[in-house]
Amino acid sequence: MRRSHWMVAGLLMFAVGGSFAYLGLEVGQLFSAEAGRQMWKYLISFFPPDLTTDYLVRIWHGTLETIAISAIGTLLAAILGLLLAIPAAGRLGLAFRVIARLVLNFLRSIPELVWAALMVFAAGLGPLAGTLALMWHTTGVIGRLFAETLENAPPEPAQGLVLSGARPVMAFLYGTMPEVVAQFVAYVLYRWEINIRMAAILGVVGAGGLGQMLYMSLSLFQQPQAMTVIIAMLSLVIIVDAASAWLRQRVAAK
């Protein structure tokens, strides 16, 4: 081993030891028999999950709400993202490009959950807050991706239209958009998939969907109901994963 390796190893040991010490975590206590017993008691209070028809209907509604939050949030983000991507790709001059990039970076660097906590203040508890939260973050991500696609799009078709007398807006719509629209749709679908997963948990800060149901039932110490929500979340994620894998395969096979 080289000297630098020893140094890294030493630093790592120091960081790990320091972390446990700083948090005052007693590893022995965390994994003691008493803690184990309590954990076990808590764990079995989740079983059996609540599978009464009444509750399943509410879960179904929560699942639909989750999907709606993700779909509307992504759709609005796609529109806003495109509007911001055009200046960010430098189509309206350098000043707009810098400003649009700053806005997109800002929107993107704040995580969905922080946006959700903020939006709960602006729009109140409920699915609207979740929708807006997803919209802001996704606008940042999609806007940047769109901007990159626009910059890489071949300029010749639009130039050709402009040179033969088309207005710039028309040249953009009929010269540039056809080149990039497939990529845009792919990005939007990809983000939608991520956002379904996100929408399921955003509710823990009060932004609607399955997450809010989980938070409520855990706060009321209704562990069987919480278990049902967790099962619903897992199934939603598994179904979305499978569907997207299937779609990808279909598209790739074509």
């Binding site: 700083y22 709606a68 759709l75 660097s109 995580p111 922080v114 699915p127 823990v204």
Partner: protein, 278 residues
């Protein structure tokens, strides 16, 4: 448009199809607007606007009093410590499980002999456990642990430990499998034990990738530990949530700034670590 040479130019031959597609999307999406109680009017409702306006107005200037900065510094350290301690627990979970799961390390696989079924019987539950750990999102684990061990950093550490343990375990075993497995097979077939085979045949091949993935996950853990604070798992996120509750905008904006720099710092440190160890 009629041209004098008799050719009819339609403005856009694809327009009807595009219009139909747009209408279809609108019809499909319409119930979604209802389900999400979508009403931008709420944002402009005078009462809401006043609260939010006041809240936003307090975002600037940033809160920079010495007391508050000390608090922010402590919570930042706590966040980093949660991420680091959580990753340690994750590795303690992941390493043994990934060794169990990795099929190239199976002695019974290289030839006929006893132990084939026993191997499968052990491997399957280990795989299932890893899947369970990583498919429940860390914030849900955090919610559960906050109720099991109380508010504070230990819930965050456990949540990161479990979720990331599941992810690391799966990826570690994939790294082991995807590397050059010839040294492993040679050692196993020559009669070496499983652990010795791992230490001398597999580990050296896989080390650079292991390190770089682990460091990347640590970077994710820093971000996750801030977010988990929102459900009471300690660190910067918990302070941010408290300041939001009290509608103290300047504190929120300070902490957002600290959070963003922390993420950038973690990014830098992880890039550096990966370069040093690669």
């Amino acid at each position: 448009m009629e041209r004098n040479d008799g050719i009819t130019l339609r403005r856009d031959p694809a327009a009807p199809a595009r219009l139909a597609l747009t209408l279809l999307i609108v019809v499909l999406v319409w119930p979604g607007f209802r389900l999400t109680e979508f009403d931008p009017g709420v944002l402009f409702d005078p009462r809401n606007r006043e609260t939010m306006g006041k809240f936003l107005a307090t975002f600037f200037p940033l809160a920079l009093s010495a007391d508050f900065l000390r608090l922010v510094f402590q919570s930042t350290l706590e966040t980093l410590a949660i991420a680091t301690a959580g990753m340690t627990i994750a590795m303690v979970i992941a390493i043994p499980l990934s060794l169990i799961v990795t099929r190239s390390l199976s002695v019974s696989r290289i030839g006929p002999g006893p132990g084939k079924w026993r191997g499968r019987l052990v491997r399957f539950p280990a795989r299932l456990l890893l899947m369970l750990y990583r498919s429940i999102p860390e914030i849900v684990w955090a919610l559960l642990f906050v109720r099991a061990v109380g508010l504070g950093p230990s819930a965050g550490v456990l949540a990161i430990g479990i979720t990331y343990g599941g992810m690391l375990g799966k990826v570690y075993s994939e790294i082991f499998e995807s590397g050059d497995t010839r040294p492993t097979y040679a050692l196993l077939e020559a009669g070496s034990g499983r652990l010795a085979t791992f230490a001398y045949g597999m580990f050296p091949v896989a080390l650079p990738e292991l390190v770089s993935y682990t460091v990347y996950r640590w970077e994710c853990a820093v971000r996750a530990s801030v977010i988990m604070g929102f459900v009471g798992a300690g660190g910067l996120g918990m302070q941010m949530e408290l300041s939001m509750r009290m509608l103290n905008g300047s504190e929120v904006s300070t902490m957002l700034a600290v959070f963003l720099s922390l993420v950038m710092l973690a990014d830098g440190v992880s890039a550096l670590l990966r370069r040093v160890t690669a």
